[in-house]
Amino acid sequence: MKGNTQKSFEPVWFLKKNAVPVFFLILCIIGGYYSGLSLPFLLNEIITRIGRNSILVISLIIPILAGMGLNFGIVLGAMAGQFAYIATTNWQMSGLNGLLVTLVLSIPMAILFGWLTGLLFNRAKGKEMITGIILGFFANGVYQLICLYFMGNLIPIRVKSMLLSTGIGLRNTIDIKSMHYALDNLWKIKIKIPGFIFPIAIPVVTLLLIAAVCLLIRFIVKTKLGQEFRAVGQDRHIAEVAGIQVDKVRGLAVIFSTVLAAIGQVVFLQNLGNINTYGSHVQVGTFAVAAILIGGASVRKATIGQALLGTLLFHTLFIVSPLAGKNLIGDAMIGEYFRVFVTYGVIGVALALHAWQSLQEKKRAFNAT
């Protein structure tokens, strides 16, 4: 019995298989048109957002591969990144130096947080996603506790401008101007477009970093560990019978994801130039999950291409919705609300589809005996 011969490219089949990204592409095009933004401006914004968000979205891939669904717990990785920034800002570090230290510092914290997350996920097998969602809220509470009451208190802060007027608790916004664009500006290629003031700026090093992360993921998948991820992701029982240490492998997948999320958040914030102490990390999980789903991934299958495509589509929608809403209906708020609805709705639909498909599979397996 031999393999299939190459299917010729059929447009209908292609559309059906990639329905979700195609749908959102159309949505983006419509939104882009009605937003009234110029193409170079739009391109600039898109490139910037891809640069700063991709790694966060890519961090979701390995847990999907390992059968744990959408890791809403990457919020904890983002928190690790923010704690690292708080430290380096406190030590008044700056520039590339500061950024590198932040990166390195975030990793051990992310490993710890990822390990804890993994423990919880292993105790809630089959319920990893809801556990991740709730864990995100819980961790956020603990994070707020630390930032509001321990910073300046149990944890001494030298730079007084970071603290609230009472001397205890971090301010709502922490300035990291000293490390702003530390990565992006290392090498920027500017393309001038005739007729427009601003050139299109491409942050090469950042994009190279993203490429490196992509290559890293591809590399890992082709190792023994990667094979174990994939085996555990398909069937925990069979993997266990074959001798694979299922719990350990799942834990490693989560740690990996959390560390990438930490790195992703560090890259994200260096582009923003400031940290919204109590808010920057909160939506990380939701946005990354929505993005990868829009790119065509599912709860059980995700590729690097889908992560990148999804980042592109999701953030384009982000940019154009408010303006399109204003131009179409007369109020930017409609666009805002629409965007929020789409974000939540996409995730809801993907989750429902996954649950329904799992049910169908179980039924089929049961009847085959």
Binding site: M1, K224, G226, A242
Partner: protein
């Protein structure tokens, strides 16, 4: 003369006081195909679990006896150890990952890897997979079976028979394979697929010297492919014979016959003239126990037994009529006319009740009280135990009173009617199930595997109870059981199901041989040959 490949000597095992294997001896020579047959519960799986070092054995007190490989005593405490001794096992449920290729499944957790920059820092787990060498090995293993199969195909699209071959290839790939255990390999195969498998088995055994231990229910396959046969019954070896000396009827007889005291019936055989239920051409889609056109008449006031080999559909009959599994056909109950199939409520409203074989799954609410378990079914289908008046809520008082009555009558050993059913012993749980069925005041009672998983003392009590119900209340009882002896001790007549159809009905005093013949479907075979 060299020692045989495998010897299992005087293997005994008990689970919580239940003797599951008693001094079992099994010998398999080099390149021999040895068949192991026996009913469900005979001990085959336990014996294989011992051979393969499965944790369930060691977590429950280990076993007695010795295992020798090539004459050498071995201690097998884990599947890994079994594999290192050259024992490979293909389980009944497929252990294949559908999203992996044939190669990846063959090499699962035994992949060939190469060092790289990451593995030097972080360890062996990050070594790269060497797909080229893995594919080579996979091709070699497949070639040993003389099959045409592309090792790069994903397993998901393969036909079921080829999945079986991939499992075998995986075992063959283990260099030191000496003994291959196949657990019901043909259960899901068509006849022609099974033929292919059997020729592969012969090839591996005769040309490559691999010993094969082959567990199956399909007796005709045993005759065709095996060299020697061991028959297990109730944890004991009842026969060891060469395949050339065996026949299908003989094997069936050996599997189910049992020395049993046929209790003298204190009541005369029911004056069975009135028909209580007519079953015509019943088909039931119960996975593993499919009914394929059963027609049968049940007489009023009798205890009718339904027996047959596992997988032939006897369990499906009651489940289908009671609406728990999809069914079609015609069932008519006296006094109610033709009843609607696929509707549990119709069955319940037609004077029927069911004590399921799946006691803990379908039969009970384990985390609820005895009294609630007894009352719920009647409450929902017959509106019993509800208060009168405008607002109908559950009448706790009448539920408790009734439960106390049942506890007394059926002698259910418990702390009180409020006790959680989970805490009761198997026998008492079964009594709760019977109490629940009785609360419906049925005219026909289906009971499936009434004494499964119950200790010896309680078995008799449950059976006596059924006889008493029949004698005192004149209740028609249809009892399905894998234990022929149990059926013969309690029933008036016994119907034998073969391949989903009625093979025949025998009186209880018919000989073992006659039962064996029916169970092996000899009548059908003769009819086929005659036509």
């Amino acid at each position: 003369m060299s020692r045989p490949r495998l010897e299992m000597k005087n293997i005994s095992k008990e689970y919580f006081g239940n003797q599951v294997l008693k001094s079992v001896n099994l010998t398999v020579g080099d390149g021999e195909i040895h068949a192991l047959v026996g009913e469900n519960g005979a001990g085959k799986s336990t014996l294989m679990n011992i051979l393969f070092g499965m944790p369930v054995i060691h977590n429950t007190g280990g076993f007695n006896g010795t295992v020798l490989v090539d004459g050498r005593p071995v201690q097998i405490n884990s599947p890994e150890q079994a594999m290192s001794e050259g024992i490979g096992m293909v389980h009944q449920e497929f252990m294949l990952l559908p999203g992996f290729t044939v190669t990846e499944n063959i090499k699962l957790n035994r992949e060939i890897t190469k060092e790289n920059w990451a593995s030097k820092i972080f360890g062996k787990k990050l070594e790269s997979l060497d797909f080229i060498r893995m594919r080579e090995d996979a091709r070699k293993a497949i070639k040993r079976m003389d099959l045409d199969l592309d090792e790069m195909l994903p397993v998901a699209g393969l036909p079921v028979s080829f999945m079986q071959f991939v499992e075998i290839a995986r075992e063959l790939d283990k260099d030191n394979l000496k003994l291959l255990v196949l657990d019901e390999p043909t259960a899901v195969l068509t006849e022609s697929e099974a033929d292919t498998l059997m020729s592969v088995m012969k090839k591996l055994a005769k040309e490559q010297g691999i010993s094969i231990l082959f567990i199956t229910h399909r007796l005709d396959e045993v005759i065709e492919v095996a060299d020697n046969i061991t028959v297990l019954r109730d944890g004991e070896v009842v026969a060891e014979l060469a395949a050339k000396d065996a026949s299908v009827e003989l094997l069936a007889e050996l599997m189910v016959g049992r020395k049993v005291q046929i209790r003298p019936k204190s009541h005369k055989a029911s004056s069975a003239t009135e028909v209580a239920m007519t079953i015509e051409n019943l088909y039931v889609d119960m996975p593993g126990e499919r009914v394929r056109g059963l027609s049968l008449e049940v007489m009023k006031g009798e205890i009718l037994g339904i027996g047959g080999l596992a997988g032939h559909g006897k369990i499906g009959v009651a489940n289908g009529i009671m609406g728990l599994y999809p069914a079609r056909g015609r069932v008519e109950v006296k006094g109610y006319g033709e009843i609607k199939l696929n509707s549990p409520i119709s069955a319940l409203k037609s004077g029927m009740a069911f004590v399921s074989e799946d006691r803990r799954g379908t039969g009970l609410l384990l985390d609820e009280s005895i009294e609630l378990n007894i009352a719920v079914q009647a409450m929902q289908s017959q509106n019993k135990f509800l208060t009168k008046g405008l607002v109908k809520i559950m009448d706790r008082k009448s539920i408790r009173e009734h439960a106390n009555k049942m506890i007394k009558e059926l002698d259910i050993r418990c702390v009180g009617p409020h006790q959680l059913v989970r805490r009761l012993s198997g026998g008492n749980q079964q009594k709760v199930c019977i109490a629940r069925a009785l609360t419906l005041e049925p005219s026909i009672l289906f009971v499936s595997e009434p004494t499964r998983g119950i200790d010896v003392g309680a078995k008799k009590i449950v059976l006596d109870l059924l006889v008493e119900l029949n004698q005192k209340l004149g209740m028609t009882i249809i009892m399905t059981s894998s234990e022929l002896g149990e059926l013969r001790s309690v029933c008036d007549r016994i119907a034998i199901i073969y391949q989903g159809r009625l093979e025949g009905v025998l009186p209880v005093d018919a000989s073992d041989k006659e039962f064996g013949l029916l169970m092996a479907g000899e009548l059908s075979h003769h009819r086929k040959e005659a036509s």
